[in-house]
Amino acid sequence: MGARTPRLTFAHENYIVVFMADLLGNFEQAVLLSVLRLGDEAYGRAILNEVQARLDRDVAAGAVHATLKRLESKGLLKTALGPGTEVRAGRPRRYYKLSLSGQRSLNDARAAANNLWRGFRWPLKGHA
């Protein structure tokens, strides 16, 4: 499991500024949250369908696969192979699990979004 760079924060007029480069993108968050939601059933196909449901659009299997690999190489996900089934022609399933770093990254992403929105009412009205 790879260690993440410590989050650098500094106070500035009641806002916490987080280095955005260290934060997860929206698609990465969707994939990690799908893994979290699926629990013990988080394998490739199930994650693809969950991400599509969360984003409410068609998503390419290659995009999800590339993101899973990237998150795994960053140490945010752990994987293990499971047995195949008849419908898969016996090919194994790769199950994904959130690592501690992954959990921390999701918490950071949520905290950063909350900080950005602090002081505003959602949905925005009367600002344009």
Partner: protein, 198 residues
């Protein structure tokens, strides 16, 4: 439904572009979704089209970086020839040939190194060249749209003409096959040695 198979050629291409580590589980995921999700909902033709679309996505993703580098290098060379024409094209030709050859070799090497199959290198070389041809064509037409004054048009003619700029990238698919295969042989050997050591 449980025995239905997607197009065999598409499965073969998928296996060529996947890492040896991911080959079984990713192809299994696609097969499961094809048989269990798409086929019952959309029928055989649409399911086949869905499967091919997914495979094309994997192919483009796995060759996007070398194709962009190759295409970018070609467009840069074209731009230089049009806007800063040299008296002698020899040095530029030598540099661009070396750059293009290196990209195709490395592309084949990396693809075979990942998958362990020499054929993956051949396919990566050809795909990189084909995608780069699309990038080069779009880039060259973009340059022409911006710079089409008489001096530039004269420089285009002097550097081989527009036909060469548009045709050459397509012709490079053949050397792409060859160089991808050479890189692929080296990559497959490294893959086997690395597995033996591990």
């Amino acid at each position: 439904m449980i025995s239905a198979m997607p197009p065999r050629w598409a499965e073969t291409l998928l296996r060529l572009v996947l890492d040896s580590r991911d080959r079984a589980d990713v192809s299994g995921d696609l097969l499961e979704e094809f048989r269990d999700g798409i086929l019952p909902a959309r029928g055989p033709s649409a399911a086949n089209r869905w499967y091919v679309r997914q495979v094309v996505g994997f192919v483009i993703r796995s060759n996007a970086l070398p194709a962009l580098l190759f295409g970018g290098a070609f467009v840069t060379r074209t731009g230089l020839d049009w806007l800063v024409p040299p008296a002698d094209f020899h040095v530029r030709s030598l540099i661009s040939t070396l750059v293009a050859g290196s990209i195709l070799l490395v592309s084949g090497f990396l693809a075979s190194g990942r998958s362990g199959s020499t054929l993956a290198g051949t396919f990566a070389g050809a795909t990189t060249a084909a995608l780069a041809a699309a990038v080069s064509t779009i880039g060259a037409l973009g340059l022409l749209a911006v710079w089409h004054d008489p001096a530039t048009l004269q420089a285009i003619e002097g550097s081989g003409g527009l036909g060469e700029v548009l045709l050459l990238p397509v012709l490079l698919i053949v050397p792409g096959l060859l160089l991808g295969t050479i890189g692929g042989i080296a990559g497959a050997v490294v893959h086997r040695v690395a597995r033996r050591i591990a």
